[in-house]
Each structure stands twice: as structure tokens, then as C-alpha cells.
């Protein structure tokens, strides 16, 4: 039984663990399949009952150019390994998602974004080229110049255009492993959005939003801004700018009982988090791991939602309707009393690419334990998002219908058409079946 990070849905999948391109070519000839990285996609995007290809043996770092910062690596390399190798040499991923336990191939497939999206765009923006294995067994170099259409549709194409074998992408030079973090409490949604706009120049920005607090404090948040600390900002740490403390990993030892995460505990957690932000307002120097990957320290944190798993909801609402859309979403959530531990709000910059998720506006991400009430609530949230011109992040989705996707994102039809036309339908995940892609 296999699942995504949300542990919902779970399906029996025939998993292959190939070692070579020749192995992959043989598998492609056999029938429908989907590539899978480190299983951090939340829903069914990397589940293929007829064939799931575990790509983690393609895990070699191939070359690095210290002039341009361009790294060439195989698709199964973990971002955590890239950081472990290159941060001590003064380089950091130009774009990183909220976990470092993703593969590079997965980052391409989902076109992941990070806390700097408003400034630096999504992962695809720093990808120079990819090598893609097609349904015909051919390997094609795809870039903005070469096979440009295939390149564009693969960035965010959820693995449905072929198998990414290798890629070249840019790292950015940094002077230290530390981040200058500024914490700004925002008592309501309006303030939070105003703060995002006011700090549009910050390299990193994200807000943790209390989605259970209703009424006047609807959307109260804790906004975090960050900048890579320069050597002259490190004080005593200057002598060893990359010597950040090693984190102690904790592991969620067992599946939490369903009851553990009720509205009371979530409400208390969110309130606590907000008040901590109020207390800790101002500037602090934090290490890269704590700033970018706070949840990675809690291995298998997906178990806190219990055996039935959880579903993420992440949408982006265009700038012009963001205030109205977010207010409607938050009202509906707080009225339902079904809270989410982790609700994240972020201002996004302009979108790129024909199928990638981000667009200029505000993105809201929440997770809910899987139960009938939460699933019904998420359908209401779908409708509100569509009413406000928003769309959904496929890397998080586990449950929306094909009709919902098409109503929110006309590009889905184009992807399906491209797959048909190019003979790519043998790259097939449960998500592709569900969403009719």
C-alpha cells in the first residue's frame, strides 16, 4: 500500500526501483506508469497502481560550476543532500519549498515555490534545462531554447509529460547559513496583507495564520520576513559562518488517535502560536534549517493526523479579489470549527509557464484530517476559490473533482490535449485519472 505525504488516499501500487536508463526504458515499454520521488507530494500525484517508478536510485550529483552556480544532478537527488554539500561552500538553493526532503525531479514536477516567490519566482525559474525520458524511450534535452514547449509543460506538469532524468539549476551565493528573521504580528487579515505589500522588498516572507479565530480578529497572523545574513551581521559567529547547530530530530512515534486533533487542541495551538509571535516580535538570527524547514525536525509529522491521514487545501487567489476571497474562505473555516494546525498565507509574485500553479496574488494552505465533514468543508472552499478566480495546487491535492479543476483552471484541458497529441498518456498517475488529465 502506497500513499503520498498526507497518507490519503492509499492504493496498492506496483512499485519498480530501476537502476539505469535501460531499466527505465524497459519499464516504459511495459505500460502506464508514473515517476515518484521521495513521496512528499500530498495526495495521489505519485501513485500509479499499474506502475510507480521509485526514482531515488538516480541520486548522483554530476557537476557544479562555481562561476555560475549551476548544479547538474540526477532527478532522484534530495534537496537535503544539495544543501548538505553546497551550503558549507557558500551556496543555497535559489528556490526551496517548505521541506528539504524532496527530490529535484519532484521539485520540477510540482514547480515548487518558496518564501521568496514574490521576488524570485518558482523553482522552474532557476532551472536551466532538464533531460526528459519520453514515452518513446528517447531522452530529450529540454530548455527555453530547445524543445521549449515540452520544457514549459514539464515544469509543474506533475510528471505527466515524461520522466525527468537530470536537470541543471541555479544555486545562489550566500555568505552564511543564518537568516535575519523579523517577526511581525498582524491582528487581522487586512493588516497581514498590508504588511506583505509593505515588505514586498523582503527576500523571504510568509505568514502563519490562525484560521480558527473569527470575528474581528479574522485572519490574525504572524508574519515572518527573512534575509540571508551577511558576514558583517554575524557578530561572534563570523569565524564559522556555516556552522549552524545540528538539529535534533524527533520522530512522531505512532499514529495519533483521531481524537487528539480536535477543535480544542487546534484552537489552543493556534492561539499559542500567535501569542508567541506577539511576544517574539522583532529581529532574530535563526539558522537556515529552522527558518526554511521548521517541520522537517519532526520526522513523520504526517502521523499526527492519525491513521486516516489528512488532506491539504492550497489555492491562490488573484490580487484583485484576494481580500474578498480570503475573507470568505477564513469565515467559512472558522465557522466550521474545523481547524488546521498549519495554515500558511503568502503573497505570490507573477506566475510563469503554461501549467504551473503560482500566479500573482495570495496563496492559502491548510490541512485537515480526512473525515466526511472536512471533505465537505473543502468542497465549499473549492467553490469560494473558483468564485474569486483562484486555482489549486496539484502537489497538495488529493480529492478535488475533474469538474472543479476545469472550472478553476482552463489550462487543465490544454494539458490533457497535449498529452493526447504527443502520445504521453502512458505517464499516468491516480491523480491524472481522477482529474481526467
Amino acid at each position: 500500500m502506497l500513499s503520498g505525504w498526507g497518507r490519503f488516499p492509499r492504493q496498492d501500487c506496483l512499485v519498480h526501483v530501476p537502476r539505469s536508463e535501460a531499466d527505465l526504458q524497459a519499464l516504459i515499454a511495459q505500460g502506464p506508469l508514473i515517476a515518484r520521488g521521495n513521496g512528499r507530494g500530498y495526495g495521489d500525484c505519485a501513485l500509479g497502481p499499474a506502475g510507480t517508478i521509485d526514482m531515488r536510485r538516480f541520486n548522483r550529483i554530476l557537476s557544479f560550476d562555481a562561476q555560475s552556480g549551476i548544479l547538474v544532478a540526477e532527478a532522484g537527488v534530495l534537496l537535503a543532500d544539495v544543501i548538505a554539500v553546497f551550503l558549507p561552500r557558500g551556496w543555497f538553493p535559489a528556490v526551496t519549498p517548505g521541506t528539504k526532503f524532496v527530490t529535484l525531479g519532484g521539485m520540477v514536477a510540482a514547480d515548487v515555490h518558496g518564501k521568496n516567490h514574490h521576488k524570485h519566482g518558482s523553482f522552474g525559474h532557476c532551472v536551466e534545462w532538464i533531460e526528459l525520458l519520453g514515452a518513446d524511450g528517447e531522452v530529450r534535452r529540454c530548455s527555453r531554447e530547445e524543445n521549449a514547449e515540452l520544457f514549459a509543460w514539464t515544469i509543474g506538469g506533475m510528471g505527466l509529460t515524461g520522466i525527468v532524468l537530470r536537470l541543471a539549476f541555479r544555486l545562489r551565493p550566500v555568505e552564511s547559513g543564518w537568516i535575519r528573521q523579523q517577526t511581525l504580528p498582524a491582528p487581522d487579515l487586512e493588516t497581514a496583507m498590508a504588511l506583505f505589500e509593505e515588505h514586498a522588498g523582503a527576500t523571504y516572507s510568509v505568514a502563519w495564520i490562525d484560521c480558527l479565530h473569527g470575528g474581528k480578529g479574522l485572519g490574525r497572523s504572524s508574519l515572518m520576513l527573512g534575509e540571508h545574513a551577511r558576514l558583517d551581521e554575524l557578530g561572534a559567529r563570523r569565524d564559522a559562518p556555516f556552522a549552524t547547530p545540528r538539529r535534533r530530530f524527533r520522530k512522531v512515534p505512532f499514529d495519533a488517535p483521531q481524537m487528539a486533533l480536535n477543535s480544542l487542541t487546534v484552537r489552543a495551538f493556534n492561539a499559542l502560536y500567535y501569542h508567541r509571535a506577539v511576544a517574539q516580535r522583532g529581529e532574530a538570527l535563526v539558522d537556515w534549517d529552522g527558518f526554511f524547514y521548521p517541520l522537517d525536525a519532526l520526522l513523520e509529522w504526517n502521523r499526527i493526523y492519525g491513521r486516516r491521514g489528512f488532506a491539504q487545501f492550497q489555492c491562490v487567489i488573484p490580487l484583485e479579489s484576494a481580500a474578498a476571497g480570503l475573507t470568505a474562505l477564513l469565515r467559512t473555516i472558522s465557522a466550521s470549527g474545523q481547524g488546521s494546525f498549519l495554515a500558511v498565507l503568502k503573497r505570490m509574485g507573477p506566475g510563469e509557464g503554461p501549467i504551473s500553479f503560482p500566479r500573482e496574488g495570495y496563496t492559502l494552505a491548510l490541512d485537515f484530517p480526512v473525515n466526511p465533514q472536512a471533505l465537505a468543508l473543502m468542497e465549499r472552499l473549492d467553490a469560494i476559490t473558483i468564485d474569486h478566480g483562484g486555482r489549486f495546487y496539484l502537489a497538495k491535492d488529493a480529492r478535488m473533482s475533474a469538474a472543479t479543476l476545469r472550472a478553476s483552471d482552463p489550462r487543465a484541458r490544454d494539458l490533457a490535449a497535449l498529452r493526447e497529441e504527443r502520445g504521453l498518456t502512458s505517464f499516468r498517475s491516480s491523480m491524472a485519472e481522477r482529474l481526467n488529465l
Partner: protein, 244 residues
């Protein structure tokens, strides 16, 4: 001067894991295998990840006539040499097909022993070095299910033991590694008992620790020492009637 490690059978999962482990400790790595050019991605990966030199060297362990020239061609005589070559074969085929059996015997005994022996000569002449031979618990007692492979490994174990005895006072360390079950290409598709099975990374870690501590013989998972102790202790009269 940086130390270097020679990995013979570098394409094997255990060999590659060992190369990474020694590179992580700062050793330059010499990767030897047949079709060594196919190891280019691995060599690049090792060099980049660990900031060491990684070189590739063509070697066919079934061609002993080439061994001397092979060793002469290395960028330096290594400090540590690991022989991770093994061929399990198919017992059912090996017991009736002489050529197949011969290939298993030569791959697991003749080639590894001759190469280890030649390295021993060079290490002895230099007055230092560590020889690591990956043998097998299958060599601890011949069993119907794998005695062609097992007998070749038994030969290699005995060879290493003799070499250790000979070189004990010559500052050349000989380590015999008995991995037990390991999740590798060799065992892919087999149903292995989890408690008796190691990952290649664990084998590599055990090798590295044993080299540092100058151990003589290690079972990667200590439980194997007990298991094989029991298997060896069963009287032959009873053992021959068992199915193991």
C-alpha cells in the same frame, strides 16, 4: 598527503557504499570494475559530495594476467583496498553446469584471492596498508542451497585468514567482512528476514569502523555470529538431514 582507498567491484552496492563512506572521511577514491567508464556519474558524485578525487579504473577480475599492470596504473598505491566482488550464481545451475560453477568459483575465490594476494605483496613491501575482503557467512558451512558459492567464499575466508597470519607482524592489516544478508542487486526480489538483513550503507559503516579499529573478522549484524555459531556446531550426522 591524502590517503586513498581502492574499491574493487565498485559497481556493487556494497562497493559503492564503501567508496562513499571512505570519501566522506577524506579518502581519495579509486573505483575499479569492468566497464569502468559506466561509473562516471558515480565518480563525479563522490568527488562533488565529499570534495575528494575519484578516479575510474578498468579491471577484469577473471584476468589475473592484467593485475600487475592494473596496480601500476593507479595514481597511487592505496592505503586501503576493498574487494567487494561477488557472484551468487544459481545453485541449481551451478551444481550441474561445470562452466557456470567455474565462473562462480573464479569470481568469488580465484579472482579476489589472487588480487588480494598481489596487493598484499605491495603493501608488505611498503610496510603498511589495509586489505578488506568481503567474504560471506555462506562460507562458514557448506549447505545444499548454495554450496558452490559458499565453498568459493570459504576459500576466500581461509585465504584472508592465512594472509592475516602471515602479515600480522608486517604492519599490514587484513579484515574479513561477513555481511550476512544485504539488500543489494544480488538479493533483489528475494524475501529476506528483516532482522538478519543489512543495508549497503550499514555494511560500509561497519567496514569503516572495523578498519579504524583494526578488527580481524566482523559480522556486519552481530546476530549472525550467533546464527553461524549454531549452524557450525550442529554435528554433520544431523546437519546432512536438515534443509537450510
Amino acid at each position: 598527503m591524502t590517503s586513498s582507498v581502492l574499491v574493487i567491484g565498485a559497481r556493487s552496492d556494497i562497493g559503492l557504499a564503501a567508496a562513499h563512506r571512505f570519501a566522506a572521511a577524506g579518502y581519495d577514491v579509486q573505483l575499479a570494475a569492468r566497464n569502468a567508464a559506466q561509473l562516471e556519474a558515480d565518480a563525479a558524485d563522490i568527488a562533488l559530495r565529499h570534495g575528494v578525487r575519484a578516479t575510474m579504473h578498468e579491471l577484469d577480475l577473471l584476468a589475473p594476467g592484467t593485475f600487475g599492470a592494473f596496480l601500476d596504473s593507479l595514481p597511487a598505491l592505496p592505503q586501503v583496498a576493498i574487494c567487494a566482488v561477488g557472484l551468487l550464481g544459481d545453485q541449481a545451475v551451478s551444481q550441474s553446469d561445470l562452466e557456470a560453477a567455474s565462473l562462480v568459483m573464479r569470481s568469488n575465490y580465484e579472482g579476489p584471492a589472487l588480487m588480494t594476494g598481489l596487493l598484499a605483496e605491495r603493501f608488505e613491501a611498503r610496510g603498511s596498508g589495509t586489505l578488506v575482503g568481503i567474504s560471506s557467512v555462506a562460507g562458514d558451512r557448506g549447505r545444499a542451497s548454495n554450496y558452490v558459492y559458499g565453498s568459493a567464499k570459504a576459500g576466500y575466508t581461509a585465504f584472508l585468514s592465512g594472509l592475516r597470519n602471515r602479515l600480522a607482524k608486517k604492519n599490514v592489516h587484513v579484515l574479513t567482512v561477513l555481511p550476512g544478508f544485504v539488500r543489494t542487486r544480488m538479493t533483489e526480489g528475494m524475501d529476506l528476514p528483516a532482522r538478519l538483513t543489512a543495508d549497503p550503507g550499514q555494511v560500509a559503516e561497519a567496514i569503516f569502523a572495523a578498519v579504524s579499529k583494526k578488527r580481524d573478522v566482523i559480522y556486519v549484524k552481530p546476530v549472525w555470529r550467533l546464527v553461524m555459531g549454531v549452524i557450525r556446531a550442529v554435528p554433520e550426522r544431523i546437519f546432512k538431514g536438515t534443509q537450510l
